[in-house]
């Protein structure tokens, strides 16, 4: 696979990178740069060099996974670049090429796929109340435990249509709508990306000697928690 050629075909890359002047404004405003080992200026500069080997290094690194996609960089870049868009193209290529499993952060994409990714096709939304508990999300706090314990009564009081057909908050998304989403995922490459995440992750889990099946298996828990 010619990675550089593929990267240059990605519309997010085309729209994200014009010519970087290395001013560092993106790094100055970047929330990720303030809390992790991430520097969008250096990342963009490396990509701009257009060297196949440096692209491989980037795709195998943790760096591309630290961005929080707030896109503050888009507002501020004096040359109209968007490092956050370039990151999207690099992440897509890292998964497509299988290189994502070479970094700790890249490996974690399995846990994201098995939560928000799979939720879309099961519930019609990225998030659903039944999948959230204070073991996985302790910051939800005791109020969430109270809501979960009493969800039928509380949600009915608040006018939600929890798990029922029709319109409304937290309704049951119809099979017809879910089938549309499934067909779109198949048509536009999301199923293929999901398949690659699962297959490469299975290989990595085997190499690491961690049990790999489905859902919240040992490999998922390792990636999610550690």
């Amino acid at each position: 696979m010619n990675l550089l050629k593929k990267l240059k075909e990605d519309i997010r890359f085309i729209e994200g990178l014009n010519a970087c002047i290395n001013c560092g404004t993106c790094t100055a405003v970047c929330p990720a740069a303030s809390v992790s080992d991430y520097d969008p200026r250096i990342m963009i500069d490396s990509v701009q060099k257009a060297n196949e080997f440096s692209i491989i290094e980037i795709l195998m690194s943790n760096t591309i996974w630290y961005c929080g996609e707030c896109l503050s960089c888009k507002t501020r870049c004096p040359r109209g670049n968007t490092p956050g868009y370039v990151i999207q193209a690099l992440r897509a290529l890292s998964i497509d090429s299988g290189l994502f499993i070479e970094s700790e952060q890249g490996q974690k994409q399995l846990a994201i796929k098995r939560t928000v990714g799979d939720h879309i096709l099961e519930y019609g939304y990225c998030v659903f109340i039944d999948e959230i508990d204070t073991e996985m999300y302790p910051e939800q706090g005791p109020i969430w435990d109270w809501l979960k314990e009493n969800k039928e009564s509380v949600l009915a009081r608040l006018g939600a249509n929890y798990n029922k057909a029709g319109s409304g908050t937290l309704r049951l998304t119809s099979e017809e709508s879910l089938n549309d989403l499934r067909a779109i995922f198949k048509e536009t490459g999301a199923n293929e990306r999901f398949r690659k995440i699962e297959e490469y992750s299975a290989l990595k889990a085997k190499e690491m000697g961690i049990s790999f099946t489905k859902g919240k298996d040992d490999y998922f828990k390792t990636l999610y928690n550690e």
């Binding site: 729209e15 896109l71 507002t75 990225c126 809501l147 009564s153 119809s174 779109i184």
Partner: protein, 368 residues
């Protein structure tokens, strides 16, 4: 030497620039007939907020708004986390537009700032790349048989509350005034990055001086808190929050904001984006439990509301019927300042007054 004259002149120039910026970034918001799209986060974490919004628009303001049972996510959280391709997101968005078209609407309003960014990004991409729009039209047709019209008007739900803020004020029972001392309430507004940082000309006031929430504060009698980290991200970070191992990113960024706003002693935070509302509420709880630090008065937190929750309170809705008991930071300090007459015994009741017991109290953060 800087004199008071210079200071006044500088402030005047600053104010002039700000006003000019607001004029530049005015936004066309349709008067009526909206197709409504729900949020993944808002309907789960603030499960009364969207019904309240629909009530305000339809019952209080008499507008037509359609809540379609066939709608779905826009996929924004998954897209920004890198697990689904942009082509998938564009085609799901195209399906939402097709549902709007089938229902006979032209004005699209979404209840999530991330979604607003996604819909805007898709339309801008198609504008720059017409062949991409054609490709997505063909993908949608093959996958679902659907076709669509591009919305004539695309706005965020807060844009509607902003547009009708004076009408809401005229029906309101309360103002953003502290009954205890007669002063305007000090209010922090948090806009959410994807409202205007991606496409500044699509947000009221742009990215520099977003006015969508500030306009509500001004109209309803409150006082804006202009603190140093006002425009900083709440720290969602998509994949960073979604993984327990990466959540330090999220809480660290929220903490930057809390520490920056604390000296101004805000009475209330209002947030534009469902995710931001959640993080600014829950990270106060976590910081209290981890570090013993609280940001509100007397060991409580600073209440955090969505804009429709605030509008609902001012309109006189019972706080426990609009879900304010589901915030981890208690809202009672705000209710007392506004002069809202509430019954503490109703707070944790279920349907038809069912007694559901009380949630556990945090160890550090004081709650009612």
């Amino acid at each position: 030497m800087i004199t008071s004259k210079h200071y006044i002149m500088n402030n005047s120039i600053k104010e002039n620039n700000r006003n000019k910026s607001w004029e530049t970034y005015q936004k066309d918001i349709a008067d009526d007939n909206y197709y409504f799209a729900r949020s993944c986060i808002r309907q789960n974490f603030f499960p009364a907020a969207e019904e309240l919004f629909l009530k305000i628009i339809s019952k209080e303001l008499g507008k037509d708004i359609f809540d379609d049972e066939r709608q779905t996510t826009c996929t924004g959280i998954a897209y920004h986390s890198g697990v689904i391709p942009f082509e998938t997101t564009m085609t799901v968005v195209a399906r939402q537009f097709a549902l709007m078209t089938e229902a006979g609407y032209e004005n699209f309003v979404c209840s999530c700032v991330t979604s607003f960014g996604i819909y805007t990004e898709v339309l801008e991409t198609w504008k720059h790349n017409p062949s991409k729009e054609q490709e997505i039209r063909e993908s949608l047709k093959r996958a679902t048989g659907k076709t669509f019209q591009i919305p004539k008007n695309l706005v965020h739900t807060s844009d509607l509350i902003y547009k009708f803020r004076e009408e809401i004020l005229s029906k309101s029972k309360f103002r953003l005034l502290n009954k205890l001392n007669g002063e305007p309430l000090r209010i922090v507004d948090h806009i959410g990055c994807h409202y205007a940082k991606i496409f500044p000309d699509k947000g009221i006031g742009g990215a520099e001086f977003p006015y969508v929430l500030a306009g509500m504060i001004d109209s309803w009698g409150g006082s804006q808190v202009d603190y140093p980290e006002r425009r900083h991200c709440c720290g969602f970070g998509f994949r960073q929050y979604l993984l327990k191992s990466n959540r330090g990113y999220s809480i660290s960024n929220s903490k930057i904001k809390f520490d920056s706003m604390a000296p101004y002693k805000p009475d209330l935070i209002i947030a534009n984006c469902p995710g931001c509302t959640f993080f600014l509420d829950r990270w106060q709880y976590v910081i209290a439990e981890m570090e013993g630090k609280t940001y509100g008065e007397n060991g409580y937190g600073i209440p955090v509301l969505t804009y429709e929750e605030l509008a609902g309170l001012l309109l006189g809705y019972n706080p426990w019927d609009i879900g304010l008991q589901l915030h981890q930071v208690s809202v009672e300090s705000l209710l007392d300042k506004l002069g809202v007459n509430y019954n503490p015994l109703e707070k944790y009741k279920g349907l038809n007054g069912e007694d559901l017991g009380k949630p556990e109290m945090p160890n550090v953060l004081k709650c009612y």
